[in-house]
Symmetry: C2
Subunit: 362 residues, 2 copies
DNA sequence: TTGAAAGCGCTAACAC
DNA sequence: GTGTTAGCGCTTTCAA
């Protein structure tokens, strides 16, 4: 039945046991590095296994042992630099601990989050690392509640799950946003816009909180019109920026809560002939290497995305060691690089000159 | 033993069978959508399953049936835009066909490629999609040879495996590179550099081939010194560019075989005070959204990375339908956007002026 | 320290 | 169309 000329993955413990003249359980013990195995036993088993080309079947092991050495990973879009870096960081760390990653994209759809959680549960993953679309979607919460395995949330907060084996990696978006907006105010901006993701997730709320804090400490009244929460896409960034610039009293500075939003915003600016630097100032959360090539001044808020992934993997590995208590969420700083902002220019912002002050126009 | 208050993943076919008063095989048939099941049977089984919260265990199914509905994916670095887009495209298509993705990074290490191929094989994936580090690494080739499942190679060519269930998605880098270099020659460049990845993989060789073709048809002698094959990193792009510019007769145009190499090259240029456009011209393979924001002229060679992933998934799904013959490799075009190049400037390339020689000027 | 035997949860063969 | 039975390849009691 099994063809001896074709090696790999068809050789079973049973065959190795026969060849070595021992019991299958002994073969199993050798490969599971069980402490109670004699040197002689190990040698015999390994020799037979090598000769036959035996490689343990991880599926069967998982079924029997209940552990698959697999972590499910759900992100919005693996092609975004944000999740690319996070998954990369986590994969390297998990791999070194012997785990593999099952990856799925939610495409911005909370129902896909839910479906993937259930699917990965059926695949018997040992744990889940999730960047959820929504912290309040009922079906997602139900799926999480049904789970028996540890979960690490990426920048999400779901208080109702705190009791269970759920922890998180949380970025301090508030500080970065506050510092950026504070400097905008300090250099003279009076009308500052915020474009970021939907309010259903923590990063957007935290950025908004930082934005509001900066306004409060700068005694600058908040204009609701300037706050645009909604989505992460380049398109959203472009649209909202165009809309903001089309208003009667447009903003002179803008904080974009993400690289894609930022690129959309910058594209919109260049479409209407505005160049960041000549009266209009842009700050963006997160960086990509290409941003350093932009010729106009651009303020950025940095965080270590790679480390986020590592931290998530670390939390997961801790929870996987049974007996460990639920680890506290890990906080990751966001750091604003000061001095990159430009002051507003009174009068028509597309032209320079006439540094009077006051309100200005587009 | 099993707690009825905790649903999910602990309910077995056996329990559903008992509750519905049928055999386990009938339950199995209903969930496997076996054609020979009566409406009444289905209804009874589904009702019992719903009540108990039954969800089939995919691990057990995989062990018994020999198919895990899982595809192993190995890329150099998931955080690069290239692989992010490819994996994304493939994931969506595979997901819709019921498959999940096991993802691993090789970190530029051919031995990790090998290790991942073996590991995924032990996990009993149904197929493998691979962007290998090397087409000739002996241990990688051995691991591939031992495989019993279909393989799709991403932009790699391994003739010795043609007989087996191995096919590929191949990009026509040659055409894109040839067209770019041809236009460089047409606008007057006489010293053109190429920086791209290692010669062990097809894209580098194809770009080189296109580069050489353009020189041949333009009757331009090839200067070995201007050809830099080696790695994909931004660092390599920067280093090689600096080295090229430090030569006695530096190039006036450069083709970078990848976004990261291109960014490295552009950084190097700006470090020495050169701006693409004033006598020096840069073309880069592959684009990212931020490139459109660069103010200086930049020529690009495009390909549809998302489609590459879809094509890989499509080939895989074809091979997974048993009975199908080995599908031919899919070719993906690369398209050069003409007219983005600038002419060289005689004399010191860092200064402008004096449009004497050459075909035209900027 | 090692062996024998049971069984993880499912599906596939074969009966009926 | 449905039930019975065996067993995928492994680990894990339990006994020796």
């Amino acid at each position: 039945m099994s063809d001896p000329r074709l090696p790999s993955s068809r050789v079973t413990v049973k065959q190795v046991a026969e060849a070595a003249g021992v019991a299958t359980s002994s073969v199993s013990r050798v490969f599971a590095r069980h402490p109670d195995t004699s040197k002689r036993m190990r040698a015999r088993v390994l020799e037979a296994a090598n000769k036959l080309g035996y490689e343990p079947d991880l599926l069967a092991r998982g079924l029997r042992s209940g552990r698959t050495a697999t972590i499910g990973f759900v992100v919005r879009d693996i092609s975004s630099p944000l999740f690319g870096d996070i998954v990369k960081g986590a994969e390297v760390k998990l791999r070194r601990a012997g785990y593999s990653i099952l990856l799925a994209n939610s495409d911005g759809d909370a129902d896909l989050d839910t479906a993937h959680i259930r699917l990965f549960n059926r695949r018997r993953v040992d744990g889940l690392i999730l960047s959820l679309e929504s912290e309040s979607n009922p079906s997602t919460l139900r799926a999480l509640g049904d789970l028996r395995v540890p979960v690490v949330l990426l920048d999400r907060e779901i208080p109702s799950l705190q009791q269970q084996r759920v922890t998180a990696v949380l970025c301090d978006h508030r500080t970065g946003a506050r510092d950026a907006v504070s400097e905008m105010i300090a250099v003279g901006h009076r009308r500052i816009a915020l474009i970021t993701g939907p309010e259903t997730i923590r990063p957007s709320r935290e950025r908004l909180a930082g934005y509001l804090e900066a306004h409060r400490s700068g005694s600058l009244p908040v204009v609701d019109e300037f706050i645009r929460l909604g989505s992460h896409s380049e398109r959203f960034g472009r649209r909202q920026t165009l809309d903001l610039l089309g208003g009667a009293e447009p903003p002179t500075a803008l904080l974009a809560g993400g690289v894609q939003l930022g690129i959309g915003a910058l594209n919109a600016l260049s479409e209407v002939g505005l160049v960041p630097g000549s009266g209009f100032s842009v700050a963006v959360s997160d960086v990509i290497p290409a941003l350093s090539l932009l010729s106009h001044p651009l303020a950025v808020i940095r965080r270590d995305r790679h480390r986020m992934g590592e931290a998530a993997a670390g939390l997961m590995l801790t929870m996987l060691k049974d007996g460990a208590s639920l680890p506290e969420p890990v906080s990751v700083p966001t750091v604003y690089s000061p001095g990159q902002l430009v002051a507003p220019v009174p009068g028509n912002v597309t032209t320079v000159d006439d540094p009077r002050e006051g309100v200005n126009s587009q």
